[in-house]
């Protein structure tokens, strides 16, 4: 499940593997039980910056280490593995449960539902551990929800980096993007083929 990244990174460009963060729809990323609203967006960055915690990180509320992160993608992706960098002093998350393609999960849902996959995490302060997924289940992921129920004994849970390795397809889940509601039909909005110059029909 966990593999150690024990070759030096100069040999090949690691960061290109971890480039799924570019396909995350950052504006719609949300987290429940975060101490600073909006801080969740700071954990999605390039592989090279994963240890760069000078900016914000995601922290749960005092005394409650549970965290729920909802991540929608801009197109369907296939996820091979996930990497999580937690905080020091026991504030790293100890378990991770993921749900695929479900919106609006809250804590009671997350605690009750069977996750698609779950892992026991290890403290990963250097960001060299990755957790492989059962690839067949992660073939067309439009959104992923990560549930971190516990930490390693700390009062809160801190997350500095979440990375996804995999590939992005160009497909988009069917979302009705623009709907035009017509109260009365407007003929000028509906050009027949005859008017646009195609077809053989004639309107007399």
């Amino acid at each position: 499940m966990a593999c150690t990244h024990d070759h030096s990174c100069e040999d090949h460009d690691c960061s290109s593997n971890w480039s799924l963060y570019k396909h995350i729809d950052l504006a719609k990323v949300t987290a429940l039980n975060e101490a600073n609203p909006g801080s969740v967006k700071s954990v999605f960055k390039a592989w090279e910056d994963r240890l760069n915690s000078s900016g914000e990180h995601l922290e749960s509320n005092e005394g409650d280490p549970e965290l729920l992160v909802y991540i929608p993608f801009t197109s369907d992706v296939k996820i091979k593995s996930i990497s999580v960098v937690g905080g020091a002093d026991g504030t790293s998350p100890s378990k991770m449960r993921v749900f695929i393609n479900r919106e609006g999960i809250d804590f009671s849902d997350a605690q009750g539902m069977q996750p698609v996959q779950e892992w026991d995490l290890v403290e990963n302060l250097q960001g060299v551990l990755e957790y492989q997924t059962r690839y067949s289940k992660f073939q067309s992921v439009a959104s992923i929800t990560l549930h971190f129920p516990e930490s390693f004994g700390g009062d809160t849970t801190q997350i500095h980096y979440i990375g996804f390795k995999g590939e992005a397809t160009q497909l988009k889940r069917d979302v009705v993007a623009t709907i035009v509601y017509e109260i009365t039909p407007n003929p000028s909005d509906h050009k027949t083929r005859a008017e646009t110059g195609g077809g053989l029909s004639q309107v007399e």
Binding site: L32, N33, P37, D64, E103, D106, F107
Partner: protein, 411 residues
């Protein structure tokens, strides 16, 4: 315009029979609920509101979150008063109702009317608050009615536990002559977080403040929102320009009179009605606008304010020069030249101008066909003394009419 699903928790316990809020606590609460529902659905058409009662036989959801205002108002009918309020269960049921909202994109909000004594202790309320915060549900509390010892403290503790980034609020409404809904209108519960419902709130506040005349600009924003908006915008532009010009005024020493604006002031009469009716700070409008239009408007205002003239200017001599020809035209020309040349601040002072009998009669004398001894002209001169804006604009129109009549008569 925040997209929100709201659950309103109504207190229909025995304590609501009390009449210290008119007509009764329960009725005041119902009015407030109606107003809130209206405000929420107006601020964003996709907002939904639901209602539940906390007392009676138990917590009962009257209507699940819906955007249909009629349904909500209908369910408020025929509610019975009785029993004791169960705050904890009420909030939990509200949370559950919000969890099952149809549009998951909506933010969740609970509004609680706490009118009777609170049974749960501070600790359990704090736990409830933390659970709400964890699920990012905002909570608004309206503390009215009974004032138990510790009630305020408990509610404040609950608010502190829920509050995330100032999205939750508490309002304490003491008993008094003001209706509950009136007090609520000015609170963040109505105005959201500074956005949204403010248009509705402003209109409602105006209505509450005193009938039809309470509307800003004399136009009901609900009846004619575009006109109200246009008036408001022009008012604010006006103010901004005046502030800018006021700075210039401080530097300028001389003030010019704009007698030539008599002709345009009548056109501006309607504008001034709006303007003068609008704000009491028309006094600030003394000052200086480089724009011709604004100057005219402002001058007309000055007339209405009946300001004593500061300096009766050299305009007189200029006028008498031009008086030989067409005094009004000459004046207007002078004016526009001065405006562009100096960009000056001028104190509009037609009232003083008109008050100067000799000046006026000299003008009238120069006008063809007008006999200063004509009784109608004398009447007109007399009426000028009364110095009301309306009459002076009427005067101008009358003068114009006299002028028009005179050449006609001549023919």
């Amino acid at each position: 315009m925040v997209l929100e699903a709201t659950m309103i928790c109504i207190d229909n316990s025995e304590w609501m029979r009390n009449g210290d809020y008119s007509p009764s606590r329960f009725q005041a609460q119902a009015d407030a609920v109606n107003l809130i529902c209206g405000a929420k659905t107006q601020s964003n058409p996709e907002n939904t509101v639901g209602v539940l009662t906390m007392a009676g036989k138990g917590v009962r959801v009257l209507v699940t979150p819906t955007s249909d205002l009629g349904k909500i108002l209908a369910c408020m009918h025929g509610l019975e008063i009785g029993g004791e309020m169960d705050l904890a269960a009420g909030i939990q049921v509200a949370q559950l109702a919000l969890k099952h909202r149809q549009n998951k994109k909506q933010q969740q909000r609970i509004i609680v009317f706490a009118g009777s004594p609170i049974k749960p202790d501070k600790k359990s309320l704090e736990m409830i608050g933390r659970k709400l915060k964890k699920n990012s549900v905002a909570l608004d509390i309206v503390n009215f009615g009974e004032d138990d010892e510790g009630k305020t403290e408990k509610l404040e503790a609950l608010l502190a536990a829920v509050n995330n980034n100032d999205s939750s609020h508490i309002v304490h409404v003491p008993a008094g002559p003001n209706a509950l809904s009136d007090v609520l209108i000015s609170t963040p519960i109505f105005t959201g977080d500074g956005e949204g419902g403010s248009g509705f709130a402003a209109a409602a506040a105006a209505a509450a403040a005193g009938g039809v005349s309470g509307f800003e600009f004399g136009v009901d924003p609900n009846l004619d929102p575009e006109l109200a908006l246009a008036l408001r915008v022009s008012m604010e532009e006006e103010r901004a320009r005046q502030e800018a010009a006021a700075k210039k005024a401080a530097e300028e020493a001389s003030k010019q009179e704009k007698g030539g604006e008599q002709q345009s002031s009548s056109q501006d009469a309607t504008m001034t009605e709006h303007a003068s009716g609008a704000t009491s700070e028309a006094d600030n409008k003394r000052n200086d606008l480089s724009d011709d239009d604004n100057a005219l408007l402002q001058q007309a205002l000055a007339m209405s304010m009946d300001e004593p003239a500061s300096t009766h200017d050299v305009q007189d001599s200029e006028m008498s020069d031009a008086a030989a020809d067409d005094p009004e035209l000459a004046l207007a020309l002078q004016l526009s030249v001065q405006d562009s040349a100096k960009d000056s601040s001028s104190q509009a002072d037609v009232s003083k101008l008109l008050a100067d009998q000799s000046f006026v009669s000299s003008i009238l004398a120069s006008l063809p066909g007008v006999d200063p001894n004509d009784p109608s002209v004398k009447e007109v001169l007399a009426s000028m003394q009364s110095q009301s804006e309306v009459s002076s604009s009427n005067l101008v129109t009358q003068q114009k009419q006299d002028e028009d009549k005179a050449p006609n008569e001549e023919k």
